[in-house]
Symmetry: C2
Subunit: 352 residues, 2 copies
DNA sequence: TTCGAATTTGTTCACGTGAACATTTAATTT
DNA sequence: AAATTAAATGTTCACGTGAACAAATTCGAA
């Protein structure tokens, strides 16, 4: 079975017309007589024609311009992982000469987001990979993208935008439950539990709320009620706040952001046998995890999210692949024993 | 900056020769005068020429034929996940019309592997994705592949074959440590620990040994010595074996294969508060995990391994991408709280 | 009818590569 | 020096698509 590939030429022959007519029917442009159209459409249906994407791509012969709009990794190292993922994919798809333009906005400054997003629009990218950090502004911006026919993929933050090619993220509420479950099963004493929010940026509020909701939901089901929430402002004195608790009072701490490294040693030195669970594999977090100050980190897989995003964008734009509307990545539980297997993934990739 | 793509035509112009000569230099075939060769090579180096893979692929215009050689999923459901991964990718790359031929060998029958691998060879695939299950036979087979210039990628089982495009797997010893760590931290009593091998197929021996090594290494470091190994044959009576232990004697059980579902309820009903850790998200395992009979499953990510394997093979064969020599996937810790995030990944994918 | 315009259909080129084929130049033999 | 062969270089086609362009057909009006 040689199974030759079916081309527009074959269709033209079968319908007894020229390739030009077939092309006009397929793309619905130009004038075609009723008779010819019917003939061609019949053949098309019979034969289930699939265009050769390779040839299409060659023909189009365009370099993709992709915009990346994320919070600045300089201000919050959390976003570094996204960059790492992007760069990894950029190298892998170097042959397609894709032009990825980076736009970093200040996550403490809404107006900066507006400015940056305007810059993105005036750059007219072929596609967009974006963290819709500020709810209202993001919705407005993405609406503009839709009307300008700039396709986009969102990641990290979830927005209910049916217009996006794909939304990549994680079930935050469930990740809160995972943290709760770990603490519940590991703790040695039935003392209080603390939830720490690092509320430097109000826009994370939704994120953190979801995680807290999951965490509390879990303990509510177990009828464990002594769960307390602490909102830390960057101006707050952590020692002062911790001094309100006695050392034999807290058996578990859950930090809802990637900032657990900021309190890890304080927690461990103050509370006996206290279980600390935080988020994300920042270098400082990894160090604390390895030294035992942090017990578990939940990996939001930002790097994978970004990689997936870029890949999907290219697949869609260059090869017209269909994408899933949503993609939830695994809620990865990371301990000092499996941390290396998560870090190794980022290992450098030989370039051609 | 329009940054036009550099083609062989440009190189020909710059070196003041014809495209034919450029082509001969690049591919080192045909006769080229010393002078012309030098000129072209200089331009090539100066300009860092990268061929257009899209055009190459169109030109080559071939359908890939990829062979998949794995143990039969009908005999051991563990391998179903590999199939799921393959099928997912097959749909995603449907446009490239890749012909994936499945060969399932009997994992209890070495001679069957020999037969199947011969079939694979006579089918002359463009590439091969293989689980090198039987050590000696696999080495022989893969050597044949190398001499027949059939490139291959291995997964699941690790073989030191520098010839493979890429070896995909997991650090088994470390996964044993992960299991040990979970049990160590979760168990309520300092009773004995049991390691269960399901030794139905001798070829898994290496796998299981590695996992046991990691597990024991961990507890040795903690100076915990009461760790016992039980080799279960399929003919063995499990109840009989368990009767050797009193109910207040065992605080943790580690099953080194995907077969933990076979003893989960027996363990939980016999031993008080015993922690059970096993491998892989088989349906039965998932059920036990959700019901609480199994505490943790370590996901070997067979599905991801297979997906990655197919993707890499296509990238290499079709687009000539460079691959990493080895790829170790994360050692995923799965509990009843994050299991869904691992199952959702397999969600069906809309086809174009 | 016969011309002109509108409509419909057919042909050709470009995308970049690889390879077959054709042509020109150099080296060797008679 | 002419003829023959070998070496080196140049030209062209195919891959499949999309679109510009050219050609052919139809129709209405004079």
């Amino acid at each position: 079975m040689p199974e030759k590939r079916i081309t527009t030429k074959d269709i033209a022959r079968l319908a007894n017309v020229s390739r030009g007519t077939v092309d006009r029917v397929i793309h619905g442009r130009g004038k075609v007589s009723e008779g010819a159209r019917t003939k061609v459409e019949k053949v098309l249906k019979d034969i289930n024609y699939q265009p050769n994407v390779i040839a299409q791509t060659l023909r189009a012969n365009r370099k993709l311009k992709i915009a990346l709009l994320i919070p600045s990794p300089d201000e919050d190292p959390y976003w570094m992982a996204a960059l790492a993922g992007i760069n990894l994919e950029r190298d892998k798809v170097a042959q397609f000469e894709i032009d990825i333009r980076h736009f970093y906005f200040n996550q403490d400054d809404v107006s900066n987001f507006a400015t940056l997003s305007d810059e993105v629009l005036s750059d007219r990218p072929d596609g967009l990979l974006v963290v819709p950090f500020f709810y209202k502004e993001s919705v407005a911006f993405l609406d503009k993208c839709t009307s300008l026919k700039i396709p986009y993929i969102t990641f990290n933050t979830h927005l209910d935008t049916a217009q996006s090619l794909c939304a990549i993220g994680q079930d935050l509420c469930q990740s809160g439950r995972v943290a709760a479950n770990l603490i519940h099963r590991l703790r040695r004493k039935e003392w209080s539990l603390l939830i720490f929010h690092f509320d430097e940026d109000i826009s994370n509020a939704l994120h953190m709320q979801e995680k807290e909701r999951g965490f509390r939901e879990y303990f509510d089901e177990k009828e464990i009620r002594d769960v307390y929430t602490i909102n830390l402002k960057s101006t707050d004195n952590i020692d002062e706040i911790l001094s309100e608790f006695s050392s034999e009072n807290v058996s578990g701490v859950f930090v809802t952001t990637s900032k657990s490294y900021k309190i890890a040693d304080k927690i461990k030195s103050k509370f006996d046998d206290c279980i600390l669970v935080g988020y994300d594999l920042l270098r400082e977090n990894v160090n604390h995890l390895k030294s035992g100050n942090i017990d578990f980190l939940i990996n939001q897989n930002l790097e994978i999210q970004a990689r997936q995003g870029i890949n999907y964008l290219i697949d869609s734009l260059l090869f017209k692949r269909q994408l899933p509307q949503k993609e939830f990545l695994p809620i990865a539980i990371v301990s000092r024993e499996n941390i290396d297997s998560y870090l190794l993934m980022n290992e450098s990739y030989p370039i051609q």
